[in-house]
Structure formats: structure tokens, C-alpha cells
């Protein structure tokens, strides 16, 4: 869940009133966001100081609210978005109408795309914010939003990369190209640098840059690098790495060109929409965005072009189209469980930025989903918004009418009974991790990995998470080691699953419920463990089975289990199958785990006893 940091006072100013912290938390809760943390500007900078310098000048005591928002609400990733949503929610503002400036087709600035870009980043969308007034606060907000979007929907710039430029410092028409020639032929002065770099040098240069080095892999292995040029071959940007210094925006910028290069066109449009809807409030013509046309030399031209109208066959962005959804009134109100009249529904929808009207003829509500609400995919999303606006706490709580009977899984009932028995025998139950290191699962218990037993993790953070356990032994031995100073005897047990590879299952692996117990004392405790194993076999005995069925069989020397002491180990046999074994733990194993006293251990396949 993304967290957005906003200055409290700026936020309250935008909301038009002050709130106490409790009042504000209340408001957030109602809307569906959460005030996660309250800190100060100073704190924030202090924490980030060891990273590169932020763009904030001077440490201040300004109170910062950290607000957590839902991961699919791109319209809430900046102060402007949150303030606007809340103002509309409390009825202080009407839903803005975002529009594209009407200018004749020939005057629309164009960006021409080259063929080779389809190999690396096929799509680009652009828009212009005209007559913007930046100040310190909203400028930072502008930069921060790009960062947030890059982290979220852009998947760290791999899907979409945003570039923002001072339109007055460059000249259109623009071109988005991938050099068919080598990256060495791209030269420009990148942002924040003084001297000019070749593109390949630049990538090397950024290898040591904490912030930028993680984006290098996106293009470094390609033979073509994508570049955006203006009419005079000034480099605007080398997406997704860095913009050019020439077109850099500053506090004095009045006209902003926003370009988003991407591998996913849908997301690029959402990103562009988010940028312009959020910041067009600072344009001299509020909420109006100037369009840019994208011209592709190939089939890409027809993937998203306008099907009809003045711009038929062309790709004009931003696509601020409002999505229209026709939803029967009942489909909105019944799933909530309240009966609301259509006027009420429309009023509630307005609070959530969803303009709606009634089609009286057939009680269908027509909802106009603005470009800021790309999260609305289905009528149930509209229903949800109505419920939020109504207030979840006001919805009458009813009970489902269906009659069902409860029950537990037989395996769990059985294993709970066994757990009860073992604890009554004086053993302490423990719960250990399923994930362990390769060494703990194999080498430390003297077993070899045959490659067809254990599930292996592909991306462990540390060695603690390398494999999924195939026995409960390591977990118990580790637990014992960490509690080795306990009074003797130490008797612990665990009933839990191990995981084994299995070619007959759809996923290729299965769980197996095991029971294991460990007894540690100054003497080995073999009789203890034997006694426990005997007790378990007795309690699971079916009524028709003879009371003293022979189920212990000494480990055949040829098949002796390496983790046990030789000649002090036995198999447990049930219905002709070996379902468990027990014995004295081998001293080498004890040594590897750092246990100074002798131990006995038993492990049984509980599922086989069912």
C-alpha cells in the first residue's frame, strides 16, 4: 500500500479548513485512506540524509502527514489528488471536467516515432500543460508524483517512464527514435551535469549512482537506445534513464511538455492522465490540457487511434475520455443491502468523483467515470464507491440467510487429537519454520540431497530461506539448541507439514503431515521415545486391531538412517508400510547443531495413520 507524504498545513489550506488529528483521521477512515504516521520535515530529511540530497531546501519543523492509499488509486498519490478527492467528498468542490484544448489539427504539436523503437519501448504518449505557475511546494509535488508513479504502476520505469520538459526551451515537432547506429552516437548534457556525455559513457557513469543504477538494465543490453529529440536535435531525454539538461524544468517554467515512453500502452495512458489531471489545476486555464499527436510509421498507428471524428486515424493524447457505464439501479443498491433512491445514489456518486445521471426509462444509472478513476473496472466498483460514500458504518448489519453446517478437515481433527496425546505425555509443543537453509535440511542431519526430494526456493533473501523442510528434525534440534539451558529432561514436539516433490500433483509438490518429538537429557532417553511411539500407536489403533500388534522393527543395517546412532534406531511399521522411525540422534548431528547432551528423536507420518 503506497504511502504519500503531504505537508499538513498545505493540505489543510487546500481543504479550506483545519482539522484536529482525530478529526482528520476520522475523515480519512470514512473515505478509505489511512493516516499512517505523523512526522516533521526535519525527521524525513534526517532519515534520507544518507541517500542523495532531496530537493527540499532547509530543514523545517513542518508537520508531515503520511497517508496510506489503496494501491490502485493513482489519483491519490500526491497532495493535489488527495485534497481534491477529499474536497469533493465533503461537498466543497464539484467534479472537475478535464478537457483538451480545442486547437486546429495542424497546430497540434507532433512527435514522430521511428521504427526501431518497437524493439525496445514501442509506445509514447505526450501532453502539454500551458501557463503553469510553479512554486516551491507544487514543484516538489510534481517531481514526487513522477517518482511515486515510477515506483508503482510503472514498475520501476520498466513499463512506463515519465519525462517532463520546459517547452519553451525546445522546439517541436519532436521525434522519438532508437538509433539504428550505435549508442556512441548519442551525445548530450544530462540533467544535473555540466559536461556532455555519450550515451554509452553515461550508462557507465550512472553505474555508481545509487538512484539511477537500477534502471540501467532496462536498456543496457539493447543494441538500440531510445531517445527523444526536438526539431534541432536537442536531446530531451534518454528514457528510462535521464532527461537532458537543456530542457530541464525549473520554478520559472511556464509550459510543461510531459512525455511517457512505455512497453504497456494502457498504463502509459493512465500515467499521463494522472500527471495532467493532477497538475492542470495550476494551468492558467484550469483543468485544460493541450494535446500532442503521436505519429507511428507502422501498425502501432492503428492500435489506439480515434475511430471517428475530427481526429480519425490519429493518436492524440492525453486521452481524457470519460468511460460511460450503464448500470441498473438495483445492481448498485441490492449488493449493498440498503434501499436508496436514484437521487440519493447520484448524490453519493458525486462525492466519489463519479458523475451520474438517471436514464428514467429503464431505471438505469449512467455513470461517467473520469480519467482519474482508472480503478473503476466493473459495476461492482461503482457499487463499492456508493457504499463508501454512504458510510460502511451506516449500512444495516444483516445475517446471510443460508443454512450451512460447519466442520473441520479430518486430517486436522486427527492431528489435533494426537497433539493432545503427546502433550499429555509431558512434551512441550513448539512451532518451527517451514523454510530452512539447505545445510540444515541435509548436511547437518547427515543426508544427501538427491535433487528429487526437496522444494527449493528460487529467490531467497538469506540462506535461512533456501529450501522447504523435508523433516521436522532440524526445527526441533534448532529449538533445543536455543533453549539448551532449560532444566533436564527437555521434551519437545511438533505436529506440522513438510513438503515433498511429487510428480502426480498438479503443482508438482505435496504437503505431508508429520509428528516429531525430541527428548534431551543426560542419558539418551531411548526408552522415553520408544514409550511415546508405543503410546501413539496404541491410541490410533482401530478397535478391531489386536492390542499389542507388533509395529517396531529394528532398522535394517543396509538401510540404516544416517541421522540416528547405529544399532539404536527402529522403524515404525503400520499396515505393512514404514511410516516412521525413531532412535538416538547421531552424535555428529548433535555436534553440528551444538547440542552437548544426548537426544532421542521420533518422526511419524501422521497421514499414514489416518
Amino acid at each position: 500500500m503506497p504511502t504519500v507524504s503531504v505537508g499538513r498545513d498545505r493540505l489543510f489550506q487546500a481543504l479550506g479548513r483545519s482539522y484536529t488529528q482525530e478529526e482528520f483521521e476520522e475523515l480519512c477512515f470514512e473515505y478509505g485512506i489511512e493516516l499512517d504516521d505523523v512526522t516533521t520535515e526535519k525527521e524525513v530529511i534526517r532519515k534520507e540524509k544518507h541517500l542523495e540530497a532531496t530537493t527540499v531546501a532547509g530543514d523545517s519543523e513542518e508537520v508531515i502527514y503520511k497517508i496510506e492509499v489503496a494501491a490502485n488509486r493513482y489519483d491519490l498519490l500526491c497532495l493535489e489528488g488527495i485534497a481534491r478527492a477529499l474536497r469533493i467528498f465533503i461537498g466543497k468542490e464539484k467534479i472537475p471536467v478535464y478537457s483538451r484544448r480545442e486547437i486546429p489539427c495542424e497546430s497540434i504539436l507532433q512527435i514522430n516515432v521511428s521504427k526501431e523503437t518497437s524493439q525496445i519501448r514501442p509506445y509514447v504518449v505526450c501532453a502539454i500543460l500551458k501557463g503553469v505557475s510553479f512554486n516551491g511546494a507544487n514543484y516538489n509535488s510534481f517531481i514526487d508524483l513522477q517518482d511515486k508513479l515510477h515506483q508503482n504502476i510503472c514498475r520501476k520505469r520498466t513499463l512506463v517512464a515519465i519525462g517532463t520538459h520546459d517547452l519553451d526551451k525546445v522546439e517541436g515537432p519532436f521525434s522519438y527514435e532508437s538509433q539504428a547506429l550505435k549508442p556512441q552516437d548519442i551525445t548530450f548534457v544530462p540533467l544535473k551535469q555540466e559536461k556532455s556525455f555519450r550515451a554509452d559513457e553515461l550508462l557507465e557513469f550512472y553505474r555508481s549512482d545509487l538512484k539511477l543504477k537500477k534502471f540501467l538494465p532496462i536498456i543496457e543490453n539493447s543494441s538500440v537506445y531510445p531517445v527523444i529529440y526536438d526539431k534541432n536535435r536537442t536531446v530531451l531525454s534518454l528514457p528510462p534513464i535521464i532527461n537532458g539538461a537543456q530542457s530541464a524544468i525549473s520554478l520559472r517554467t511556464k509550459n510543461v511538455l510531459i512525455e511517457c515512453t512505455a512497453t504497456d500502452l494502457t498504463k502509459a495512458k493512465i500515467v499521463l492522465n494522472t500527471m495532467v489531471t493532477m497538475f492542470s489545476e495550476y494551468c492558467d486555464s484550469k483543468f485544460e490540457v493541450e494535446p500532442v499527436g503521436v505519429v507511428y510509421p507502422d501498425d502501432r498507428q492503428f492500435e489506439d487511434c480515434a475511430p471517428e471524428g475530427a481526429f480519425k486515424g490519429k493518436n492524440i493524447y492525453p486521452d481524457l475520455a470519460v468511460t460511460v457505464m450503464d448500470i441498473p439501479l438495483a445492481e448498485i443498491t441490492s449488493p449493498i443491502g440498503v434501499s436508496l433512491g436514484v437521487a440519493e445514489v447520484i448524490r453519493l456518486l458525486e462525492k466519489m468523483q463519479l458523475h451520474a445521471s438517471l436514464n428514467a426509462a429503464n431505471s438505469v444509472v449512467t455513470v461517467y467515470v473520469p480519467p482519474t478513476r482508472s480503478d473503476i473496472l466493473h459495476p461492482c466498483d461503482v457499487m463499492e464507491d456508493v457504499a463508501i460514500a454512504y458510510g460502511y458504518n451506516k449500512i444495516p448489519k444483516t445475517k446471510p440467510k443460508c443454512m450451512t453446517t460447519g466442520g473441520q478437515q479430518p486430517l486436522n481433527v486427527f492431528s489435533d487429537k494426537i497433539r493432545g496425546e503427546v502433550s499429555r505425555a509431558g512434551y512441550m509443543e513448539v512451532l518451527t519454520w517451514l523454510l530452512c537453509s539447505h545445510e540444515e535440511n541435509f548436511a547437518m542431519v547427515k543426508r544427501k540431497d538427491d535433487g528429487v526430494t526437496a522444494v527449493i526456493i528460487g529467490n531467497p533473501r538469506t540462506s535461512e530461506f533456501e529450501v522447504v523442510r523435508t523433516s521436522l528434525m532440524s526445527g526441533l534440534l534448532k529449538t533445543l539448541k536455543h533453549n539448551i539451558d532449560h532444566r533436564r529432561p527437555i521434551k519437545i514436539f511438533e505436529a506440522g507439514d513438510i513438503v515433498l516433490l511429487d510428480g502426480t500433483r498438479d503443482v508438482g509438490a505435496l504437503n505431508n503431515r508429520r509428528l516429531a518429538a525430541l527428548c534431551c537429557n543426560v542419558t539418551s532417553g531411548f526408552e522415553e521415545i520408544l514409550g511415546l511411539a508405543t503410546r501413539i500407536m496404541q491410541v490410533v489403533r482401530k478397535p478391531h486391531e489386536p492390542a499389542n500388534a507388533d509395529f517396531i522393527r529394528p532398522s535394517n543395517v543396509r538401510f540404516k538412517e544416517p541421522e540416528f546412532f547405529p544399532n539404536r534406531q527402529c522403524y515404525i511399521v503400520y499396515n505393512g508400510k514404514q511410516i516412521g522411525c525413531f532412535g538416538i540422534v547421531h552424535p555428529e548431528v548433535l555436534e553440528k547443531f551444538g547440542i552437548p547432551d544426548p537426544c532421542s528423536f521420533v518422526e511419524i507420518d501422521v497421514e499414514a495413520l489416518l
Binding site: P400, E429, V468, D506
Partner: protein, 401 residues
């Protein structure tokens, strides 16, 4: 025996003024007497006043000489009137006697050691050292000047001597009854428990903990929550499959393929087995279609859905993967019956472990499936559930599923 002698003596006498002397007189080691005195004192049978006297004691070396004679005298005795060769003399006595004895004997001018050998200078000598040592051993006083040599040769040391003055105590008895500690089978059989005195128990002493078994606290909580579900008519889902495919864990739950949660830094993907072997193909087609172009009223995500992504195996990040499987199974049935499902089981997230995050934890999940269910019903069920746990509050949060 020591106890008898003390108690016996006190029966007819007022007091034992010096326990050291008493010990010597009855021939008992004082340390043995001392432990008896302490025990009797503990039971208030005797009253013991401690005193301390400092006096001279023999050190180990001194005790040896008291017994065998001083080394110089021993050496002297080993030298015959006619004299003796050094090597022969060395063979006759122990090395320490030779070393110490010869140096002292020479100092006292009793012998002469030259190149010809060792010879007597006087006719005969008196072993004063031995005499004095023995006197001290026997507790007799020795003159200061005589003590001088003994002191300088470190044969004696000045130590405090502890002793007791004993009198009859408030609970004095001439013969102590042996107090029994525990009531045993023999006592019952013999019937002598009536006559025996039983020792006082110190009931405020810390007791030896008994050996008991325990159930794990987290599992006890799981049990309590499970009971709530069962009381509300929920059926447990079979969740004993930790390995899951991305399809059931993400795709079937409408989580888009480029969603950050599917990142390798949030999910444990598997090296072995890396891909799932089998998926229900007709269902896969439907899921793919909805992701790519939407359906059933949804606009979908409009991206290119990849089968390889869905095939990737992982350790499940939520038990909702099992819920998805259950719903699919339910949908395959001929006729529909409403169902309530629950599960409480382990899930895995590839997170950095810190104060509030673990890589493995348990998740509680509940599911009700019926026609005409409303949000109000959900809130009602949650209210019931949490009320049984003792909590009542509702945030407006949702997760995109």
C-alpha cells in the same frame, strides 16, 4: 555418638565450657562435633555460644617434623662418628632432609661438610624443634623466644580456633527423637506414625516444578478462532498445500501479471519445481480473456496475458489461493448449494524480517457463497465474528481482488 556425649554430659552438667577441649576429651574430631552442635542448635536443643581463640597451629611442614624430627637432627643421626661421604649420605636420607638438614646442621655448627665428606663436629644434639612442635600440637604454651625459630622457618601459623560453650537449650532432651520427614508405606504398615515426630515443612520454600506438557500458544489462539467459525457454520478448507501456482494464487484472483505483489521481492518463487504441471485449461482461457479484454461486466486490464507467468510456482502468499480453488470446484457442481468456508493456515512472503514482519505467518480466511448476499450481510458476519473475539470497529478499506 558425638550427639549422645554432648547431650549426656549436659544432662548432669550445667555447661560444656570449651567444645575443643571436650572434643579432645571424648576423642572426637572437633569438626564432626561442630556439625552436631549446629544441628542441635538449629532445633534449640542446646544453646551454643561461639568463641574464638587465637593460637599457634602447626603447618604441614611442622607436622612432619613433629612426627619425624627436624631435618638437621635427622641428618646428624645419619652421619656416623667417623664421618661419611657426601654421596653416601645423600643416599641415606631424602633429598629435602639432605638439603634443609645439611644447611641447618652446618649453621648450628653440628657438622662440617668438606671435600673429604661430612663429619660430626659435636658428639650429640638435642632436637629442640621437635620438642617445641610437639608441645604446640598438644596445646601447651611455648616461650616466645622458642617460638622465634619456628616462626622464621614457617613451621607454625597463628590461627583463630573456634570453639563453643554449650548449655541446655529451651527444647533440651537427653535423647533426640529421630524426626521423620515423610509418611511412607512402612509407617502405615507398622503403625508407628502415631509415635513419630515429623519434621516441620518449610511451606514457603519454592517447589520443584512438576513435569508437564504444553500446547503451543499460537495454536491455542488458532483453536479459539476456529471454534468461532465452526459455531457460525463454516466448513474448513483443505489448505495443506503450501506450493501453489501463480495461476491460483494471483491470476484466478484477478491480480494483474505486472502487479508489484508478484515481484520477486514479495513472493517466494520456486527453483524446484519451477512450473506447475497442470491447470484446468478451459478455466485458464476464461481467466486470460478477462485479464486481456474484460468480460462479465468488467473492462479488464487490457494487457497481454502470459501463460508462463501463470505457470510459475511459488509458496502461497495468501490462503485465498485455496479459496479460489474451492470456488472453482463449487462451480463445477451440478446444482448450487450455499457454502461457508474458512481456513487458518500458513502463508509465505519474501519480506525482510523485522519487528512486525515475518517471512512465514498464519492467515485467517472466511468465505460465504450464496445468491443475493449483500455488503450488509458481510458486515453482519464480521460483527458477529469480532464480537466473539471481543472487538468492534469498522474501517472502510478494501483490497483489489
Amino acid at each position: 555418638m558425638a550427639e549422645e556425649s554432648i547431650l549426656g554430659f549436659l544432662q548432669t552438667n550445667e555447661a560444656i565450657s570449651d567444645s575443643q577441649q571436650f572434643a579432645a576429651s571424648v576423642g572426637i574430631d572437633h569438626s564432626e562435633l561442630e556439625s552436631v552442635i549446629k544441628s542441635l542448635r538449629g532445633f534449640e536443643i542446646v544453646d551454643a555460644q561461639e568463641f574464638q581463640q587465637d593460637q599457634w597451629f602447626l603447618k604441614d611442614e611442622g607436622k612432619t617434623y613433629a612426627r619425624e624430627g627436624s631435618p638437621e637432627v635427622q641428618l646428624f643421626k645419619a652421619v656416623p662418628p667417623e664421618g661419611i661421604a657426601k654421596e653416601e649420605l645423600q643416599r641415606k636420607v631424602t633429598p629435602s632432609v639432605f638439603k634443609l638438614g645439611s644447611s641447618w646442621a652446618v649453621k648450628k655448627k653440628w657438622v662440617e661438610i668438606g671435600r673429604q665428606g661430612v663429619s660430626r663436629k659435636v658428639e650429640h644434639v638435642e632436637d629442640k624443634i621437635q620438642v617445641f612442635l610437639q608441645q604446640i600440637e598438644n596445646g601447651k604454651v611455648v616461650d616466645e623466644k622458642d617460638l622465634a625459630e619456628l616462626k622464621s622457618r614457617k613451621l607454625i601459623e597463628y590461627k583463630p580456633l573456634k570453639g563453643y560453650t554449650l548449655r541446655r537449650g529451651p527444647k533440651y532432651v537427653s535423647k533426640r527423637k529421630k524426626a521423620a520427614t515423610d509418611l511412607t508405606r512402612e509407617h502405615l504398615l507398622r503403625g508407628d506414625w502415631r509415635d513419630l515426630e515429623f519434621k516441620e515443612y518449610n511451606l514457603s520454600a519454592q517447589v520443584q516444578p512438576i513435569q508437564i506438557g504444553y500446547l503451543q500458544p499460537l495454536l491455542k489462539v488458532r483453536d479459539a478462532i476456529q471454534r468461532i467459525f465452526l459455531q457460525m457454520g463454516f466448513e474448513e478448507m483443505p489448505t495443506n498445500n503450501y506450493v501453489e501456482s501463480s495461476f491460483w494464487n494471483f491470476d484466478a484472483l484477478f491480480q494483474p501479471q505486472q502487479h508489484p505483489a508478484r515481484d520477486s521481492h514479495d513472493t517466494f518463487f520456486l527453483k524446484v519445481p519451477s512450473s506447475t504441471r497442470e491447470l484446468p485449461e478451459d478455466y485458464v482461457d476464461k481467466v486470460k480473456h478477462v485479464h486481456e479484454s474484460g468480460d462479465y461486466g468488467s473492462m479488464g486490464y487490457r494487457y497481454k496475458w502470459k501463460r508462463e507467468e501463470a505457470d510459475k510456482n511459488l509458496l502461497r502468499t495468501h490462503t485465498t489461493a485455496v479459496s479460489a480453488r474451492m470456488l472453482y470446484k463449487l462451480a463445477q457442481q451440478k446444482s448450487f448449494n450455499p457454502k461457508r468456508y474458512y481456513s487458518i493456515d500458513r502463508v509465505f512472503r519474501n519480506e525482510a524480517v523485522d519487528r512486525t514482519h515475518l517471512a512465514e505467518f498464519h492467515q485467517i480466511e472466511g468465505l460465504i457463497c450464496d445468491r443475493g448476499l449483500t455488503l450488509g450481510d458481510l458486515l453482519g458476519v464480521l460483527e458477529d465474528f469480532f464480537a466473539r473475539l471481543g472487538m468492534l470497529y469498522f474501517p472502510t478499506k478494501f483490497f483489489t481482488f
